[in-house]
């Protein structure tokens, strides 16, 4: 366990009727960090969250929080708080009573807990809502109350399970900002589970990417975009360009005879990837290095970008996202510039194949 780890998850394993849901998971969270547990639905991330919260018992492994092992510790004594998808409020309590719920359980006297709850409601911009019933709130307001209810007990670890997925797009970005702002104000360590990679990128310092109950890569958002550990990770983050090459240090030899230079040395047969937004399209071959002659086979305007499908004379197909102002028409010839720092590769054989249709319970 490293010095920095505030919460360490070690060798965590959970099976449901013999089917692995979470397998041998190791993860460290730093104090004050925002970590996102990201993966497609059914990959075991919600199960992991429930294991951390103590709502499920692991088959093996342990969780250490702030130097204290949580083996056999019931959820109410883990000093964590959980926010669920729909901001699940207690329907029999008013908004204020909902926020004060955790404090009441901890034996805080009425005057004190109501004062704290009101202050917390003000922090989530819901002053004056304390006497409302949960049924009178919108989805976004309910989620803010749920957030206040969790933060008011000053948890050592704040767990968020798909907190924004039930909200519409505009509300979602407001909530993202609010969560980031509250996290900055309180300094709470935060673990957010999501299936939405764009949400994970915005909300987290680091992202733990999970497939089929196993962690695939734990890294910063930038690294996951630019330097994925394999093609599956790259595809999950919207990677569309993949091609085979033979690497000799900084040189990539493509099957059609083209050569490209990369900043990331490799050796032997590799799979090369480049983000579509990193490909520049030039009408004239201005610079000589890493240029491929291409024909534009498709052009689609998306509002903020123009998505182009390209084909080289050797049959290599690429996609490039260029600024919408660049006007290229289908059939036109151009030159694609693949910057050396944007070319990333991993050994061809490295890509672990996913087990076929393994039924995983939980989200």
């Amino acid at each position: 366990m490293s010095e920095l780890a505030y919460c360490a998850i070690q060798n965590l394993t959970k099976r449901f009727r013999g089917v692995p849901a979470v397998g041998d998971l190791w993860l460290e969270i730093r104090r004050g960090e925002r970590l996102a547990l990201l993966g497609p639905s059914g990959c075991g991330k919600s199960t992991t969250l429930q294991l951390i919260a103590g709502l499920l018992a692991p088959d093996s492994g342990q969780i250490v929080l702030n130097g204290r092992s949580l083996v056999g510790v019931p959820p109410e004594r883990r000093e964590m708080a959980l926010v669920l998808q729909r901001g699940l409020l207690f329907p029999h309590l008013s908004v204020g009573e909902n926020v004060a719920f955790g404090l009441k359980l901890r034996g805080v006297n009425r005057a004190e807990r109501e004062a704290q709850a009101l202050a917390m409601l003000a922090q989530v911009q819901l002053s004056g809502f304390e006497n409302r019933r949960p049924a009178e709130l919108s989805g976004g307001q309910a989620q803010r109350v749920a957030l206040a209810r969790s933060l008011v007990i000053r948890p050592k670890l704040l767990l968020l399970d798909e907190p924004l997925s039930a909200l519409d797009a505009n509300l979602r970005s407001d909530m993202q900002n609010l969560i980031l702002q509250l996290q900055a104000e309180t300094g709470v360590t935060m673990l957010v589970v999501t299936h939405d990679q764009s949400e994970a990128v915005v909300m987290a310092h680091r992202i733990a990417l999970m497939f089929d109950g196993c962690l695939r890569q734990v890294d910063t958002p930038e690294a996951l975009y630019q330097q994925p550990s394999d093609a599956t990770v790259a595809r999950f983050f919207g990677g569309v360009n993949f091609f085979e090459a033979i690497a000799e240090q900084h040189c990539l030899r493509l099957s059609g005879g083209n050569r490209l230079t990369t900043d990331h040395p490799q050796h032997g047969p590799v799979q090369v990837t480049i983000r579509p937004e990193r490909i520049h399209l030039l009408a004239e071959p201005i610079c000589g290095i890493n240029l491929l002659p291409v024909t534009i086979t498709q052009s689609r305007f998306t509002g903020t970008q123009r998505h182009l499908a390209l084909k080289t004379p050797t049959g290599l197909e690429l996609q490039a996202w260029v600024p919408p102002g660049q006007s290229f028409t289908v059939g036109e010839s151009a030159f694609a510039h693949l910057p050396a720092d944007a070319l990333w590769s991993f050994p061809s054989a490295n890509e672990p194949s996913l087990p076929d249709a393994v039924a995983i319970r939980g989200g």
């Binding site: 429930q50 919260a53 103590g54 709502l55 019931p74 959820p75 109410e76 004594r77 964590m80 708080a81 959980l82 669920l84 699940l88 207690f90 329907p91 029999h92 008013s94 908004v95 204020g96 009573e97 719920f101 955790g102 009441k104 359980l105 901890r106 005057a111 109501e114 004062a115 709850a117 009101l118 304390e130 006497n131 209810r149 969790s150 007990i153 767990l159």
Partner: protein, 305 residues
């Protein structure tokens, strides 16, 4: 327009929106209820105040009520009826809540099992209780065979006993499955994530029960216990056949007065019956008011503002 007035207006507008066909369709059922229930009640009231009596001069008099309320037997019977109804309702409520929580995770068979006692007539249940619990009943004989008691005199009196154990046993047998059935349905409607959420906010299983499950179960508890209380309080045949010989419950008192050879007692019987209904309705109203949480709810969170 003030908000209150607007609300009132909206309410009436809601009623106006209902088509005249709907009113027409309700009419047959409504008139039947009004005729049979309302008419019966009206006739009973007239008889009880001497206006439609079989005896007397047909002038308005509250003599029947005076006689009913003046007798010590009435108050004893009221006490007994309340004792049986309240004890049994409380016991079956507590036991049903426990049973429903135990059966919460069980499949459809649990609800089915709870329905088994519903179609069995009370008389059959009463016969069963007599066969089981009377001094010469099955349990008594079993204990005798086992040598635990030497004669049937040693077997405690559980039928027609002063404590009305037999009556309450019968009601518990009948009402616990009924209440459990209702509570199970309510429990299944409570989202399991709420308990999870409470635990994750620091509630022990016990706190989770008191702070979340029980309050959410409360509407079901209130309505189920109301039905049970109303039924037991007004029930005649069970205490008549299994209950203590003296005092007797209010419905039996009504029956005895009604079938008395003295026809003057007829109006007393009706007065008693109306009093029984009045007491029952007032208790139910009080309970509903308390159960709504209205008297306990604080309007202002966070103190004086």
């Amino acid at each position: 327009m003030t908000p209150a007035a607007r609300l009132k207006n909206a309410r009436w507008a809601g009623l106006r929106d209902v088509s005249w066909r709907a009113y027409l369709l309700v009419l047959p059922a409504l008139s039947l209820v009004l005729l049979l229930f309302g008419g019966g009640l009206g006739l009973a009231f007239l008889q009880s105040v001497g206006l439609l009596g079989l005896t007397g001069d047909g002038s308005l008099s509250l003599a029947a009520y005076g006689e009913a309320l003046g007798s010590s037997q009435f108050w004893r019977s009221l006490g007994l009826s309340l004792y049986i109804a309240l004890t049994t309702t409380a016991l079956s409520t507590v036991l049903s809540i426990g049973l429903a929580l135990l059966l919460r995770g069980a499949g459809r068979w649990a609800s089915f099992a709870c329905q088994l006692t519903l179609p069995i007539p009370h008389l059959v249940g009463i016969a069963g209780i007599l066969l089981l619990l009377s001094p010469s009943g099955l349990i008594s004989r079993l204990l005798y065979t086992l040598g635990w008691i030497s004669t049937d005199q040693d077997f405690p009196l559980l039928v027609n006993d002063p404590a009305n154990i037999g009556v309450m046993t019968h009601f518990l047998w009948k009402e616990i499955p009924f209440m459990t059935l209702i509570l199970l349905a309510v429990l299944r409607g409570i989202r399991p994530e709420l308990a999870m959420q409470a635990r994750a906010l620091g509630a022990s299983p016990w706190q989770c029960f008191w702070q979340v499950t029980l309050p959410l179960l409360q509407p079901g508890i209130v309505s189920a216990s109301l039905i049970v209380f109303g039924f037991i309080f007004g029930n005649f045949e069970v205490p008549f056949l299994l209950g203590s010989t003296y005092p007797r419950t209010l419905p039996i008192l009504v029956y005895q007065a009604f079938t008395n050879v003295d026809l003057n007692q007829r109006s007393v019987a009706i007065a008693l019956g109306l009093l029984l209904s009045l007491i029952s309705i007032s208790l139910i109203a009080l309970y509903l008011w308390l159960g709504s949480g209205q008297p306990f709810r604080r309007r202002n969170f966070g103190g004086q503002r």
